[in-house]
């Protein structure tokens, strides 16, 4: 007989996620994913100035800060027909790359690593041998035995204090931990180094956007001005700062993150056969090289891989009413035409109706409704989104950069291409794209410098800034790739105000409950077959769930007290 495991809260994620899993004979046979917090950003957006929407939606998430702001300004620009100047596109790209590098590194070391690295085992390591390991995989200079000894002393003093802080009650000593003590010590050392480094790279956001988290964006361009002859604008000093941070980032990614990822992965190759889940992958693509309007110029291509068929990329159109739809059969909402219907976001409808158990509760009613997330589908099919989807779509699209790097990583790990469809593959894809982005960011930087050198200082277009220049009604969609996957916002503007605003975000695709046909979304599908050595210690569940890098506050934001999104909002 199967037993039910509940993991709530899932920690080391953004937001509030609960997993209930049925375990039989040491493996998960069924799983349910539930988002347990809702705020209601979309209803709050109604009636507001579309130019303000980026700031509201940016607060969907502070971990993947900026991504919603970018999607939002694109949505409004798409609705109003605004094309931003090349410098603005480049600065947005640089902010995008910055976000990816910071976010993916933090995910690997601070959110995911403790699933693979046994901190307590690091106390038993021989620091000299850790140094040997470090030097054998990288030329990162902080690799002396004395350095690792220092880290180990620090860890020991911490453990001896009896106050284990964030490491208290961890799953130390669990049989699924496979790294030798020396590699565990390396992981701990780099956990601390990455914590130091991540606050540096984000300074690129601060330079262009004034702060991080939550830098400033602007419909029509970027808020910062460029003026090489002025201290109060982006000048040579500011650009030099950005260049240095990008260089440092590339070094950190190539000399610390990627070698560590490969070293750790080498001990966990069994996880290349676990956690595959869905067989469909969706990416909207991003990083325009010739303006947002030219999808062919995107560094990350757009498209869908169906049934793991890497020979074909199927196109996706976010404006077509029959492609992307959201369902609520297992979500705490009502639709006017019943629980079985799907709705395209422009016709989206959100009426909150909690029918779950009264708190405090032990179990959710998983046969009925069990989450604050809706369930998005593409032509009725479940899609995985995220780094793996991006790399597979890029690979299948014939993107040379992606193909080379994916091939190199598979070769180094000595695993077949099918290893990509797994928990380990997802984690590896995240590293691969970080390395790609570290390189691309320097191309964008070089282009920005070249533009400025040629005298193009423009960062904003005033065209269509004034609401008086807008049509009475306009609809737009803005697509992007958040670190966690395909992200889209839809807007309807009426008489200068937001009449409808909808977000369908990566973790909604991945973490959602079942659809009306009973099809599982990505988390639930990936957990099937995951081994569970000790039902009291859900380490393996965390591995697979963390491989998606959950971001639940993003995913749950839908609430409309009034019911239909039917433009009933009065114009002030």
């Amino acid at each position: 007989m199967a037993s039910r495991i509940v993991v709530d809260p899932i920690t080391r994620i953004e937001g509030h996620l609960r997993i209930e899993a049925e375990v039989k004979d040491g493996r998960i046979v069924d799983a349910y994913s539930s988002g347990t917090m809702v705020r209601g950003l979309e209803i709050i957006l109604q009636g507001r100035d579309p130019r303000d929407a980026w700031a509201f939606t940016e607060r969907a998430c502070g971990v993947c800060t900026t991504v919603h702001a970018l999607a939002s300004v694109r949505t409004v620009e798409n609705a109003l027909g605004i094309t931003v100047p090349p410098n603005a596109e480049l600065i947005r790209n640089l902010m995008f790359c910055t976000q990816y590098m910071q976010d993916h590194v933090v995910h690997f070391y601070h959110l995911h690593a403790l699933d693979w690295v046994d901190v307590v085992s690091a106390l038993k390591a021989d620091p000299a041998r850790t140094g040997d390991v470090a030097r054998s995989i990288s030329r990162w200079p902080k690799s002396s035995p004395a350095y690792f000894q220092d880290v180990q002393h620090r860890l020991k003093a911490f453990a001896d204090s009896g106050q284990l802080g964030i490491f208290a009650n961890g799953y130390w000593g669990h049989p699924a931990y496979k790294l030798p003590p020396e590699v565990n010590l390396l992981g701990v050392a780099h956990y601390l180094e990455a914590l130091e480094w991540q606050k540096e790279i984000v300074k690129i956001h601060t330079i262009f956007g004034g702060k991080n988290p939550h830098p400033n964006y602007l419909v029509g361009g970027v808020p910062c001005s460029i003026n090489p002859e002025e201290v109060n604008a982006i000048n040579a000093e500011r650009l030099g700062y950005v260049g240095k941070l990008l260089n440092d980032a590339q070094v950190f990614v190539e000399q610390v993150y990627i070698p560590d990822l490969l070293a750790v992965a080498g001990f966990y190759k069994d996880w290349a056969a676990i956690g595959g889940g869905l067989e469909n992958y969706l990416a909207y693509g991003d990083l325009p090289t010739n303006g947002y309007g030219d999808v062919k110029g995107f560094k990350f291509p757009r498209g869908i891989v169906l049934g793991r068929n890497l020979k074909e990329v199927v196109p996706v159109d976010a404006t077509k009413p029959d492609e992307i739809q959201e369902y609520i059969a297992h979500s705490w909402y009502d639709y006017s035409d019943g629980d079985q219907a799907g709705r395209h976001p422009w016709q989206g409808e959100t009426k909150l109706n909690y029918t779950g158990p009264k708190p405090p509760y032990q179990h959710l009613n998983v046969d009925q409704k069990y989450s604050w997330l809706k369930t998005p589908r593409w032509k009725g099919q479940a899609m995985e989104v995220g780094p793996l989807a991006r790399m597979l779509v890029a690979y299948a699209s014939g993107n040379k950069d992606a193909q080379e790097l994916v091939g190199a990583v598979l070769g180094k790990l000595k695993v077949p291409a099918t290893a990509l469809f797994s928990t380990l593959g997802r984690t590896a894809a995240r590293g691969i794209e970080t390395q790609l982005i570290a390189g691309w960011s320097k191309e964008f930087y070089g282009q920005l410098l070249a533009n400025i050198k040629q005298g193009d200082l423009r960062t904003f277009t005033r065209e269509k800034w004034e609401p008086s220049t807008w049509p009475a009604e306009a609809k737009g969609v803005g697509l992007s790739e958040a670190p966690r996957g395909a992200l889209a916002h839809w807007i309807v503007i009426k008489d200068g105000k937001i009449a409808n605003y909808q977000l369908v975000v990566p973790s909604t695709w991945n973490a959602s409950p079942r659809d009306p046909k009973g099809q599982r979304s990505a988390y639930e599908a990936a957990l099937i077959g995951t081994p569970v050595a000790n039902p009291e210690q859900p380490l393996e569940i965390l591995r697979t769930i963390h491989s998606f890098d959950p971001c639940i506050a993003c995913a749950v934001h839908l609430y409309d007290e009034q019911g239909a999104w039917d433009y009933q909002v009065s114009v002030h």
Partner: protein, 364 residues
């Protein structure tokens, strides 16, 4: 493992840091917390003798930007605050344990350090529909926050969500989101405002508590005066442009490229109390105005409903840095108070031309 809790100095000396390093850390921390040099000895004493205070960090209706900002704190060893300064026993963002092991860690600390743990809160608490809009481990945020507050030493509310409800409390506040002071009473409480607060301000607040063993002085909205007693407008390096009547008229216009005042672009600096103009962001690299965007007022209650953001304030109260939040009070958020005109009048007298540079054809 022994029950002896190591002091910060013991930690540092065991890691091979010298007494000089320790003194340097104290200096940095003091600077971060805005503590005067004469009080430096007190900082050293506190860090030398106190074990790491247990801290439990809650997440309710939030976006985790406060946690992210906290880990951006830049001072040499404050980035290591997790290992050396406090014992962060519960935080959904960083802790190794999950599920009931995580909840057990929380309850162990609440029991073992009854009345001694510091409670920090990120996020607002939904009070609508019996609290079902935010549950953790099957319990409502409301139940959790009230239980934990009972035996907390003090409560630090991170950011605008916990201090004032932030974006989810913006009209029409669909989930009836409330800040912590509306659902908990009878506890010392600090509101570290901002969306998010500046990382160094967050660290500085912790250091202040740790050092002096008491709350910092607070303004009438519960914010530490050390960081929230100055308007962004009064500490803004672009202020002379305001006084001289030099304004950006459109984003990326000639005046924007010279760094003129963003008042006409909707800047909320005149009604916003925060350290952005002094401490700046991410180790002093910049702040919104320096990077060309008007302040949106994120450290003020209700700032989301004080828009649209790009419409300039019709008026704002006060004049000069002597006007504090205490004197002006809630009027700051409303932006409909007289007295503004006086500010402008004085400004205009100082410089009759609204924009002398624009009057000159072709600039220089």
């Amino acid at each position: 493992m022994s029950d002896h809790r190591l002091t910060v100095w013991e930690h540092m000396s065991s890691r091979g840091y010298t007494r000089r390093d320790f003194a340097k850390l104290c200096g940095w921390l003091a600077a971060a917390a805005g503590i005067e040099a004469t009080a430096l000895r007190d900082v050293a004493y506190a860090l030398e003798t106190k074990a790491r205070p247990p801290v439990v960090w809650f997440h309710f209706q939030e976006c985790t930007c406060c946690s992210e900002s906290f880990i951006r704190s830049s001072h040499p060893i404050v980035a290591d605050i997790l290992l050396d300064t406090v014992s962060l026993d519960y935080t959904l963002t960083l802790m190794a344990a999950a599920g009931h092991q995580a909840e057990e860690a929380l309850h162990n600390t609440m029991k073992k350090y009854k009345g001694q743990y510091l409670m920090v809160v990120e996020g607002s608490v939904p009070t609508g529909a019996g609290g079902v809009y935010c549950t953790i481990a099957g319990r409502t945020a409301l139940e959790i926050v009230q239980e934990a507050a009972k035996d907390a030493l003090a409560i630090v509310n991170w950011g605008n969500c916990a201090s004032a409800g932030c974006v989810q409390a913006a009209k029409p506040n669909p989930t009836s989101a409330q800040p912590i002071h509306k659902v908990v009473s009878g506890k010392p409480m600090i509101n570290v405002q901002g969306c998010p607060p500046i990382g160094e301000v967050m660290a500085g607040t912790i250091v202040h508590l740790l050092t002096f063993g008491r709350l910092p002085e607070l303004d009438r909205l519960g914010r530490p005066k050390a960081f929230y007693s100055r308007r962004v407008h009064d500490t803004c390096y672009r202020r002379p442009n305001f006084d001289a009547g030099l304004f950006v008229e459109s984003f990326d216009d000639e005046n924007a490229r010279k760094g003129y005042c963003l008042y006409k672009m909707g800047c909320r600096g005149p009604v916003t109390y925060n350290a952005c103009g002094v401490t700046r962001w991410n180790n002093g690299v910049s702040f919104p105005i320096q990077s060309g965007h008007p302040c949106i007022g994120c450290s003020e209650a209700g700032f989301w409903d004080n828009g649209p953001f790009y419409t300039h304030l019709p008026s704002f109260p006060g004049f000069g840095i002597e006007a504090t939040a205490d004197k002006i009070g809630l009027a700051a958020a409303g932006a409909t108070v007289a007295g503004v005109a006086a500010h402008f009048a004085v400004t205009k007298l100082r410089d009759k031309k609204s924009n002398p540079d624009q009057d000159k054809k072709g600039g220089e």
